[in-house]
Symmetry: C2
Subunit: 208 residues, 2 copies
Amino acid sequence: MRQFTHEAIDSAEFDRQKALYSPFTQSVRELLDAAIRTQVDDDTIREAQLAIEAVTQRLRARQLEGAYGVRYTVDGRGQAWGNPVIGVRNAMAPPLMIHTDPDLRCWSEFELGAAYEGPPGHVHGGVSALVLDHILGEAASAGMTKPNFTGTISCRYLRGTPLGALRAEAYIDRVEGVKTFARGFISDADGHTVEAEGVFIRPVWARD
Amino acid sequence: MRQFTHEAIDSAEFDRQKALYSPFTQSVRELLDAAIRTQVDDDTIREAQLAIEAVTQRLRARQLEGAYGVRYTVDGRGQAWGNPVIGVRNAMAPPLMIHTDPDLRCWSEFELGAAYEGPPGHVHGGVSALVLDHILGEAASAGMTKPNFTGTISCRYLRGTPLGALRAEAYIDRVEGVKTFARGFISDADGHTVEAEGVFIRPVWARD
């Protein structure tokens, strides 16, 4: 399994790749949504399947042996492009664009559609946990400059989170040694729907 | 937003649709994986994007207005096919096939590949939370015969969960009035990697 990648790229190459892969991944994301919602006849489904398999075969002609890993540009921009929450190359990711304020508070505004549904018309509780785990982790890691792994995470569901436009926020509550306590929430236009608290732990190899 | 669907189907139609959509969705799932891992040249990426957009356009010729919702066959088989964990029509779902033992313990064996990566070579912590929220919820709902919504869920990460073959289990720990307490874990060949506890609440409309 390929894990770490050492071929660091510069910022111009990062931008070039992002401009290529963002619309490509978006096309896969749209297909994923259409595959859930389509009501076309069976023959069209079968033809679509053959067309998709042909595209996949072309893409697999040359590919990474394992997963994408986490890469950094030579000037330190993170390239977690396979990531299921923020990944530029992962069609499962909404994707979240996470902003970090000067006080290190992280926030993101995003849309969740048909692919994220649990109860009818509402976000799957586990998808909310996925989003919150990620954004709390990013806040705890101070914008990904300090590696941290989730120790525990707890989510409290105040009410159903409707599919559609949402916001997530996270911030560091306190730091105790190698443990960082982060808090956050998901909200819709009417306020918080899910609140979370997480403990993130600095790995041994990254401690001072 | 389409939420509930009343057009109940019989068991034969359920099986027919499942046989049609399972391989179709699997083709989208493979494409999603290939899109993350491909190393083909830029022109091939652009051609693939056009081909994918053409398929999506055909599928969208006739589609549900909103998300898939949760349906049941006339004989009560659940059809949460848009679900991001178990959905037969959702390429984001691994998908988990969840088995329920006679004692109502739920378990599933599944594979997580490149699309679920957080730390290099390992499952995203939030994906583990997504899987656990779902399987604990299913255990708490006694095989989806009793509706329940997540009240709280807490996950404790014992060590990194490697991508690859995994198992998840969940069971009811105790019931107190409208609250069901469920526990579960994810494990690899070497034992538990993540443990979870959740409180699930019977909605008002489903109470006796």
